[in-house]
């Protein structure tokens, strides 16, 4: 139950007092009570009058009442009896007395129409507006107790009814994405989509639904469902208050949701976590979740449950972002002001997603304010950002944001002549446009660009860019069904220029472009089935490498690798089937197909022999659009939940996935020049499956969530490379590829508290991932074909993210991370060779670097909280790596003047303080 801060109570109390004068004076009762229980008061009043009490026994239990003997006006009696106990009362025209704790109910209706609109099949007449002074709190409490009749009683519909509508922010009118809607006292709960649209089955005619979302005040609606209908709901922004319980969308949802291994983070949560240079960073916070690893601090890319970095699908409002990093991984490519939250699917991946083996990171963009123009911005040591949003007319809203860097000064600090002429810069920009056509149709436009450039001296240049644009049309067919059609383009490209002014001066261009279309339908069938189905197709066009001479002296042969084309398509259907109140099944099937398309010349190799130029037996020419190779297979996405109690559940799931595009990389971390390659006649799609089991238990009315998840995962046909393979500009990559398979397993413990003065989460994960090479020459087999730990195999991982709010304005955040050191390959022997000492390496990944530990802290100061203030600002002061521990990123040996010396290289090896300034208006 929501509680209201004391100063608000005073206003409400006043309102109550005023309205009580109107109709509570005439009735009197004769009564005397000495140390009597509250129930005696109730019994006496109800016997002597027509008043009837409504109260919660939990609140009145143990309340002892004393009133002197006399005839009491009912309101005076209640005031005298109850005020010592912080109990409040209100009386309505039907002589019902409501007893509540801490605040009084408002039992008459203030103006409702401006807050909620009930768009009904048969509109119900709104009660006359009562001439009260408007107060948001009072209005909100009132609306929570108002009964919304959906449909008319005359045309009552039998059976299950569905309620749907949009959830929006009261303040901005922007949709509240991913809000949770739950039927109180019942296990059904749904999550609104990214546009704030929800659809829920209401089991009983008389029901209460509860709506909550992070950063918003939870609210509820009383329903009388005559028929299916629509109800739009507005949520108030959470104004930070001391003793208030913040109810978040995350709360309780782990227990109720059917899927396993889903983590949800709101931008508010993300912004609390201290990160290096103070820039709120989606990817860095995702790294603190159980089951997510990285090879090192500055490495872009992350590993989910033993998956490789290219096995994560990073979506930004349905746009695939191929390189979600700036500045080689220092920053994530998402402007924190431009997103509303993220969801990470690491276990159960809904069948609407596909194409990557390990996870889906679904980043939801922020949408524009529908009520007024507002903005936000921030200034940090390396970046500045600004965003602006607002309405364009009544039906349209916009959101634009930009971010850029001024990090050149960092390079200038490097004590090396070479950096004097160097420069690094990046920017990203977002555009969101939403437009509604009537009640049923809406259009959403998402645009995103991120660009990075780096120049070293005057002779080398490097740049990369993500570009995404998509348009979504959403149509609500009925309260039971809605659908979306999305078309879009996702692009990623990079270029490198080197050795300008030399004979080998060149420029290399790489590009990937995909055009996609998808249609998704969400269909509720009765109260027990929720069907989602759809189809999607992606057309890929890759320019794997064009190398051209640059500079007058250059002798570089222009080289153009043949473009690659392919179509990945999929059909999916999924049923969320509520067998009974306890058991829910998610049965999903996705059928995916990949066609590798011409034009292209394809070499075929002698079967059974290692693929090399010498074993080519046939070469075939394929025409444009001709199918060179087709792969297709079903993917299963199954999960089941069994509720042990309202606060605990067990779940089990099985998932299989396929991946048709692969990142070519033979380095430990993601490298700026890593390229992507489609599956082709020789390179098979990657296949992976995972079985998982979980137990979920909530405590203290869902404010504390705990979970244990167990998983076992297999991955086949993912790529490793022969020693010395050159991956760029390689026309015959299949000759350098080694087939690899991997197995991963682990157990993840998570305790989460997302409300109260102290909030945060702690997790411990034990996980392993091992891989081995299969089906190549014994000589090319890594570690002779035995299983060996993958680069990101870090068995023990302990993370704690904590935030403590001292007051409305001051809060403190602390972030602790411990993990086992990652595996490395060490030199084991030295020998003299070619005039210098050389080293002989151990088996791959046989050793480990020292364990990793880091603590980060930050202190946030909010400006004052006057709601009408022109601009709100906040400061964040923090220190990254508070203990200054030198966590080795890598260990390496170098031949220095004829001697072999071992070194540990640590990045961010001492405390890094930062200050950022953020504002919104």
């Amino acid at each position: 139950m929501t509680m209201v801060s004391p100063n608000r109570l005073a206003i409400i109390g006043l309102l109550v007092a005023v309205c009580l004068v109107a109709h509570a004076q005439r009735d009197q009762v004769a009564i005397e009570l000495v140390d009597a229980p509250f129930e005696s008061l109730v019994a006496q009043v109800e016997r002597q009058s027509a008043y009837r009490f409504y109260y919660d026994r939990a609140q009145t239990d143990g309340v002892i009442v004393n009133v002197p003997a006399r005839r009491w006006a009912i309101d005076e009696l209640l005031k005298a009896a109850l005020s010592p106990h912080r109990l409040f009362y209100s009386i309505d025209v039907n002589k019902r007395i409501f007893i509540t704790e801490n605040y009084a109910l408002i039992n008459t209706l203030p103006s409702v129409s401006i807050r909620d609109t009930a768009a009904l099949r048969e509109p119900i007449p709104l009660p006359p507006v009562v001439g009260h002074q408007q107060d948001e709190r009072a209005a909100d409490i009132s609306i929570q107790n108002r009964l919304f009749e959906i449909g008319s009683s005359g045309a009552a519909q039998s059976g299950t009814k569905t309620l749907s509508g949009y959830i929006r922010s009261t303040l901005t009118g922007a949709p509240v994405s991913l809000a949770s809607v739950q039927v109180v006292g019942h296990s059904s709960a749904v999550q609104a989509d990214q546009f704030g649209y929800y659809s829920i089955t209401i089991p009983a005619e008389r029901s209460v639904i509860r709506i909550s979302s992070v950063g918003k005040k939870a609210t509820q609606r009383q329903l009388l469902m005559h028929a299916s209908g629509r109800l739009d709901i507005q949520l108030d922004d959470e104004v930070y208050a001391l003793k208030e319980v913040i109810v978040s969308a995350e709360q309780g949802s782990q227990v109720r949701r059917t899927q396993l291994g889903v983590e949800r983070l709101s931008i508010q949560t993300i912004k609390q976590v201290p990160v290096v240079f103070g820039e709120a960073d989606v990817v860095r916070v995702v790294l603190t979740l159980p089951g997510v690893q990285t090879v090192g601090e500055a490495a872009s890319g992350f590993n989910v449950r033993g998956g490789a970095t290219d096995q994560n699908l990073v979506l930004f409002n349905d746009a695939t972002v191929y390189n979600p990093a700036h500045f080689f991984g220092f920053f994530s490519a998402f402007n924190p002001d431009a997103i509303s939250g993220v969801e990470l699917y690491k276990g159960s991946v809904p069948p609407k997603f596909g194409g990557r083996l390990s996870s889906v990171l679904d980043v939801a963009a922020k949408t524009g304010n529908r009520n007024k123009v507002s903005g936000a911005g921030g200034i940090g040591p390396l970046t500045g950002r600004l965003s602006l949003d607002g309405p364009i007319g009544e039906k349209t809203s916009f959101f634009v944001a930009g971010r850029s860097t001024y990090s050149d000064w960092l390079l200038r600090l490097i004590p090396d002549e070479g950096y004097k002429n160097s420069g690094a810069s990046f920017y990203d920009a977002n555009v969101q446009l939403n437009h509604e056509f009537g009640d049923k149709d809406a259009l959403y436009l998402t645009g995103y660009i991120s660009n990075d450039r780096f120049a070293f001296d005057t002779t080398s240049r490097y740049g990369y860019e993500n570009l995404n644009l998509n348009l979504k049309w959403k149509r609500i067919f009925s309260t039971e069904a809605y659908g979306m059609v999305t078309v879009g383009y996702d692009g990623y490209r990079f270029n490198v220029s080197e050795n300008l002014n030399k004979v080998n001066g060149y420029r290399l261009d790489y590009a990937i472009g995909q055009t996609f279309v998808r249609a998704d339908v969400n269909h509720r069938l009765g109260r027990r089935h929720n069907l989602t189905y759809g189809l999607q197709a992606i057309h890929y066009r890759l320019t794997p490498g064009n190398r051209i001479p640059v500079g007058e002296r250059s002798l570089i042969d222009p080289a153009y690798l043949a473009a690659e084309q392919g179509v990945e398509s999929a059909l999916y259907v999924s049923d969320s089937y509520e067998v009974d109140d306890r058991l829910t099944l998610d049965l999903g099937l996705r059928y995916s197909m990949f066609n590798y398309l011409g034009p292209r010349r394809v070499d075929y190799y002698a079967p059974g022999l290692p693929k090399s130029e010498n074993t080519i037996v046939d070469t075939r020419e394929f025409g444009s659009g001709q199918f060179i190779k087709t792969y297709h297979a079903p993917e299963f996405r199954l999960s089941a939940r069994y509720a042990l109690s309202p606060n605990s559940s067990v779940k089990a799931g099985y998932n299989s996935l396929r991946q048709y595009i692969h990142m070519l990389s033979n380095t430990t971390a993601i490298t700026p020049t890593d390229t992507w390659k489609l599956s082709d006649a020789h390179i098979k799609p990657q296949f992976g499956d995972q079985a998982s089991l979980g137990y979920y238990q909530n405590f203290r009315s869902n404010t504390i969530e705990t979970s244990v998840e167990l998983y076992y995962k297999r991955m086949h046909d993912y790529l490793d490379y022969k020693s010395g393979a050159v991956l760029l500009m390689n026309e015959r990559i299949e000759t350098d590829v080694i087939d690899t398979e991997a197995r991963a397993y682990g157990i993840e413990f998570l305790v989460k508290k997302l409300s109260g003065k102290l909030n945060g989460w702690a997790s411990y994960t034990y996980s392993r991932v091992e891989q081995r090479t299969v089906g190549v020459n014994p000589g090319d087999m890594i570690n002779r074909g035995a299983y060996y730990p993958s680069n990101f195999d870090k068995p023990h991982n302990l993370t704690m993210i904590g935030n403590y709010k001292f007051s409305h304005r001051y809060s403190f955040s602390l972030n602790l991370t411990y993990s086992t050191g990652r595996p490395i390959t060490l030199p084991v022997a030295v020998y003299q060779y070619a005039g210098s000492e050389r080293v002989y390496y151990s088996d791959r990944n046989q050793y480990r670097i020292p364990d990793f530990f880091r603590a980060d802290a930050s202190f946030n100061v909010e400006g004052n909280h006057k709601i009408k203030k022109l601009a709100h600002s906040s400061w964040t002061f923090g220190v990254y790596n508070v203990t200054g521990r030198r966590n080795p990123f890598s260990v390496y040996y170098v031949a220095e003047e004829g001697r072999i010396n071992g070194y540990k290289l640590s990045i961010f090896g001492h405390q890094i303080p930062f200050v950022t300034y953020n504002f919104r208006f």
Binding site: E498, V503, I556, T667, T671, T825, S836, Y892, K904, F908
Partner: protein, 390 residues
Amino acid sequence: MVVLRQMISAILGVLILAGCKDPYEPVFESKDLEPILVVEGYIDVYGPSSTYTLAFASPLAAPEASASPPSVVNSPVVNAQLRIEAEDGTAYHSQSSSTPGKYTVSHPALAIDSRYRLRIEIGGETYLSEYVDVKVSPAIGEVGWEETDAGVSIYVSTADAERDSRYYRWEFEEAWRFTTPFVSILVYDFDGARIRTRSAAERIETCFMEDASTGIHLATSDGLSQDVVDRHPIHLIPRLSDRLGWRYSILVKQRTMTREAFVYWDLLKENSENLGNLFGPMPTEIRGNIAHVGDPLKPVVGMVEAVGVSRQRIYIDFLDVSWSLAARRALGANCSTREIPKPEIHDFMYYNRHYFLLHATDDVYFVATQGCMDCRLRGKLEAPSFWEER
């Protein structure tokens, strides 16, 4: 093609700005203590002999290696038998050598259209290389040098009109003449406590020093429309080095390789010279073309190549180099003379054996420490046999 190396070092530079580099001593597992055969050398198709060195690599974990920094790390393999075998069955055997671990196989100039392999027998165990093609290097186009801020950079340009070479590797041998800061014209004979003038044959201020390349210098013309390597830097003589004191000579030896050998050498170079790089490839052992007969997975280091080496020698005189780079005076920085009154000279010389006489005035003898005037401490008085003066 070396993609992005500069860029990567730049990024690394940024990271190191905030990061640190500390010494590291790991603990090794016992299975990494097995000896590994290291085979070094090449089959010189021009004859008259080919030389191979066999050794076992020293485990890093060995107590002696960790106790003191390893300096001599190879333990020579003695009593091995080597045989160079041509495809037609012709074989040449190694002779026993006076230097442990060194084996010389005498043979006439070898036919370059045949293929050759190396067989090694050590105490009943046999190692055998693959048959390799002969790679004859084209003549070196130019060995040249240019001045940079850091010193004198030596470069190689080469070209193969046949476009058949593509993969190049260079080694070099340096020699230079240098002088000490001071010149001694007097000799103190302890035998009889006599002071006399140095004869021309006894002069010790001018010596020669020799050194050989220690790095792996590779280049490829892969991807170029012509088979050329243009001004590829192979060596940097730092400014003020005594190599630039008087006269310097460098002999560059060029050989060409198969792609397989190039990959081998490149990885070897990468593994020992370029690691610790954030974006560097993961270290992996690459197998050469030598395998143990019977246990093909047993590790062996070495790449057998049959090559015809081309050579070019250049000289650099200090007069050709800018004054700011040349080093003649720099060496005298820590040297000073002392004046010893003539009557005290015998006592002084007796108690200060590391001082040598320079010259004298009427009243005093000038003396200085040996290092300031005796070049034999660092070099040899005799000029190398090839040495040419200007």
